[in-house]
């Protein structure tokens, strides 16, 4: 059985009447809200413990290998390495020159003090700890998310234009909604909606402010979809809007034949006096006039007191000019609807820790995937009047990359031919 995790506790109980065994089981396992149930939290906790335990188990070996790397390229050590090559040169100086070219550091730094003739250096060795960085990052993210879930606020509020409120709607376990007090007021001065021609929303924004009583206005900010207002750790996000049924203001434009245009913002049934001594009245707003979208009925009172009416359409601005003709034309620009702005309220304490965890995670993954730890070994030995030079490398992962790097370093060696063998 699968359970839709977007349903709420109430919907769940509607579907599964109380008293049945299955209902008890489902409630016990909190299947209506599995991601916040006790067993899911337990699983996450176990995962965290597992992560810690595995890291502790494996860390010492790598750590001690890192701080005490066994740098001497003895014959026995050589047996365990696959990337190795030996050369014969005439003099000690030639051998040192060879090793100098092979090693990615200076000879002085690489020379081992205790035994002569042994050289060692390591590149990107710290990246072997990348896995631990990743695991620590995951632990940071896990624990700070648990902290954030325990102490955070996630709610919703709806404010009408010109109103202020201090109550938000939150959802508790199982999506049961309840009201919570913010401790301060949040108000909305104005809400603006811009739509495309087809009336789909292009952008919407609210002028918000914060207040501690019914009169003051602190911290004013315009909030848009990706730009929240932040106050006392609470973030107020523009999430939705809805129209409030109340008195409407209409914006129309009257253009006469000489090209003169005049905009009017009027309420319903309030008259507009034109230069031609005629009077226009917006009589009615149609939200959808026969499938043609928003429309207005305009009443016209001519100088001799004759009353007629005509319609104009918001979607077709030129309708009146083309269809009715005459001395002047009217176009329907805007109907200012009173709106209520819908805000999402989020307070995520420790979000910085979570983001820090993300940063550490990316660093750890970079160390794991894009860095290649390599150890370079070299040895000089005098045998039968000649100098034996042995070069070797040890990698821990990306072994073919290590092999490529090793071969590349061998190619540039002096006193050898192109295959890396003795000249």
């Amino acid at each position: 059985m699968s359970y839709d995790q977007t349903t709420t506790f109430e919907e769940f109980y509607d579907k599964h009447p109380e008293g049945k065994l299955s209902t008890h089981l489902l409630s016990f396992f909190e299947l209506y809200d599995a991601f916040h149930s006790w067993w899911f939290s337990l699983a996450i906790l176990l995962l965290a413990m597992n992560l810690v335990a595995c890291s502790i188990e494996r860390l010492p070996r790598i750590y001690f290998d890192y701080v005490r790397p066994r740098p001497y390229l003895t014959n026995r050590r050589l047996l365990g390495l696959t990337l190795k090559e030996s050369f014969k040169v005439k003099t000690l100086a030639d051998g040192e020159a060879l090793i100098q070219v092979y090693l990615p550091t200076t000879l002085e730094k690489a020379r081992l003090k205790k035994r002569r003739g042994y050289y060692y250096c390591e590149r990107q060795g710290l990246s072997r700890f990348g896995v631990y960085v990743v695991h620590i990052a995951l632990l940071i993210v896990m624990f700070s998310s648990i902290y954030a879930t325990q102490n955070g606020v996630d709610g919703h509020m709806v404010i009408e234009e010109g109103q202020r409120t201090r109550f938000i709607t939150r959802r508790g376990p199982g999506g049961v909604s309840y009201t919570d007090d913010l401790g301060f007021y949040v108000g909305c001065d104005d809400f603006r909606l811009r739509t495309f021609v087809d009336n789909t929303p292009m952008e919407f924004e609210s002028d918000l402010f914060v207040a501690h009583n019914m009169t003051e206005k602190l911290h004013q900010k315009t909030v848009r979809v990706n730009e929240p207002l932040t106050y006392k750790g609470y973030n107020f996000y523009q999430s939705s809007y809805r129209p409030v049924a109340s008195e409407k203001v209409v914006e129309i434009e009257v253009a006469d034949n000489s090209g003169h245009q005049e905009r009017h913002r009027v309420r319903l049934n309030s008259p507009i006096e034109l230069a031609s001594k005629e009077t226009l009245v917006v009589e009615k707003i149609y939200e959808d006039f026969a499938g043609l979208g928003q429309a207005l009925r305009i009443g016209k009172k001519s100088r001799d007191g004759k009353e007629t009416f005509f319609h104009i359409f918001r979607r077709h601005k030129d309708y009146d000019r083309i269809v009715r003709g005459g001395q002047y034309s009217v176009s329907f620009l805007d109907a200012d609807q009173k709106y209520a702005t819908g805000l999402s309220i989020g307070k995520v304490p420790g979000i910085e820790a979570i983001f820090f965890g993300f940063l550490v995670l990316m660093m750890g993954l970079y160390m794991c995937f894009f860095m290649t730890p390599i150890r370079y070994f070299a040895r000089l030995e005098e045998r039968d009047g000649e100098i034996d030079v042995t070069l070797a490398a040890l990698g821990y992962r990306n072994l073919n990359v290590v092999k490529e790097i090793f071969n590349k370093r061998l190619k540039g060696l002096p006193f050898t031919d192109r295959e890396g063998k003795n000249a």
Binding site: T6, C54, V225, P228, N235, L361
Partner: protein
């Protein structure tokens, strides 16, 4: 000229190269291979050009729409912001085009790096499938919804597409590694498990447990309203589920097929020495699946008027005639095709091993290729999860909401983490990790398409679902 012409041209190129590669299976001349790769690369360039073109198209549209809405002309930086804010991966059509682009990119990278036989064919088939899915969606460019106007969309979606593509290709490489690895993998086990996996896939595409609970296979209804096709799903999102039409015949057939796959899969594993058992079970399962595919296609092509039952539906739906077509259930058709593809590969594996196994490179090469592809996928999935969390924090105020698509992405990430740990830490390279790689494909399907297949409710990522 539209961006769609670029896409059509590149689709034609992919089809031609697929034909060439198919020929290359029988006739292994280098010339054929090179010609095929050249055509794929050229088509890929054409598709890339098409995407750039579409970005510009959408940019001009956004500028016009914004100028009309604001009432003034845009200049300079504000023009640039509006012009570039609509990348060509912002609705379902574009996402599917973009998925195919990612798949081809990963396929080409595999080809240049390892020259894996059969992987190129699978990559191109998957890309063509994605292009086919795209073709069933609305291709018109619409202004972007406010929530998507963010720079995060660039990196978030780019990473997601390449991560999913790399995962899908890696799954095929893993399957081929299992097929090639005859020392450690028994033929009968692989075929049996393959049949069971197909059963799971069919279970997912038929709507999960709903298939057995309601004994019906659900399909959306479509109707013509003027020039456009109306989709029941578009009208009332909350109630959409109740307007799905059950198709009892196909439902029962689907149940039979799922059970048959499970039973025959188990039987093949049991009777490992019986060569006939394998061949006949596979043939039977394949023919059943092929039958249901034909039935569904016939049903879709016929487009016969469909009576809407129930009083409520009559009042709420616009006047018919209602019908069923490809557009009614594109995702299910795509998955049905993938199921068939898996069975075809299993049949080739069993009946013509010379064509498959001898052409494949060595097991270590396949496994290391799969390992690299999955590492890439894992890394990019991390980027997807992190950028998704950051974007969600700045747009919705919650960095993680257990939204179905988020949870799906996390499931894929965890699957690949298991794969990497199996190989690196537990030393379980070989069949075990390859099996996890194959499972990753199914997790990708459920995670990426779960919402579209109706396995989960919509959630917050519904912009891309139309």
């Amino acid at each position: 000229m539209h961006s769609t012409s670029f896409y059509n041209l590149s689709t034609a190129g992919y089809v031609v190269s697929l034909a060439i590669f198919a020929l290359h299976v029988v006739n292994t001349r280098r010339l054929l291979l090179r010609a095929g790769i050249l055509i794929v690369a050229l088509s890929f360039l054409v598709q890339t050009a098409g995407m750039v073109f579409r970005w510009a198209e959408a940019g001009f549209l956004e500028v016009i729409a914004a100028e009309r809405a604001v009432g003034q002309t845009l200049f300079g930086w504000s023009w640039f912001v509006v012009f570039t804010q609509h990348p060509p991966w912002s609705n379902l059509y574009e996402i599917m085009i973009y998925m195919s682009w990612g798949i081809i990119m990963v396929t080409l990278a595999c080809e240049l790096r390892w020259q894996l036989a059969w992987v190129r064919q699978m990559g191109i088939i998957l890309a063509l499938l994605a292009l086919g899915m795209a073709a069933l969606n609305d291709a018109t460019i619409k202004p972007l919804v406010p929530a998507l106007k963010s720079w995060w969309i660039m990196i978030h979606v780019i990473s997601a597409s390449i991560a999913y593509a790399a995962g899908a290709i890696a799954a095929w490489i893993c399957l081929f590694a299992l097929m090639k690895d005859s020392d450690r993998v028994k033929k009968s086990t692989l075929i049996g498990l393959g049949l069971m996996a197909v059963a799971l896939l069919l279970f997912a595409l038929a709507g999960g447990p709903r298939l057995f609970l309601d004994q019906a296979y659900y399909v959306k209804l479509l109707a013509h309203a003027g020039d456009t096709v109306v989709n029941v799903m578009d009208m009332t999102k909350e109630k959409a589920a109740s307007y799905l039409v059950p198709m009892p015949g196909i439902g029962i057939l689907m149940m039979v097929i799922i059970v048959a796959h499970l039973v025959f899969g188990a039987w093949v594993i049991r009777s490992s020495n019986n060569a006939n058992a394998k061949a006949w079970s596979l043939l039977l399962c394949f023919s059943l699946l092929f039958l249901v595919m034909l039935l569904v296609l016939w049903q879709d092509l016929r487009a016969a008027p469909f009576a809407v039952q129930g009083e409520m539906a009559h009042h709420l739906l616009p006047a018919g005639p209602w019908f069923i077509s490809f557009k009614s259930h594109p995702w299910s058709l795509g998955l049905l095709f993938i199921a068939l593809l898996i069975e075809v590969m299993l049949m080739i594996y069993l009946l013509w091993p010379k064509l498959l196994i001898t052409r494949l490179p060595s097991v270590p090469l396949l496994e290391s290729a799969a390992y690299k592809a999955i590492s890439l996928s894992f890394f990019l999935m991390t980027v997807v999860l992190i950028t998704g969390a950051l974007w969600a924090h700045y747009a919705w105020g919650r960095y993680w909401a257990w939204d179905p698509k988020e949870t799906g992405a996390l499931a894929i990430w965890v699957t690949y983490a298991i794969y990497l740990h199996a190989r690196r830490t537990a030393g379980l390279s070989g069949p075990f990790s390859s099996v996890i790689g194959v499972i990753g494909f199914f997790v990708i399907i459920v995670g990426f398409l779960g919402v579209n297949l109706g396995l989960f409710a919509g959630g917050l990522h519904t912009y891309g679902n139309s």
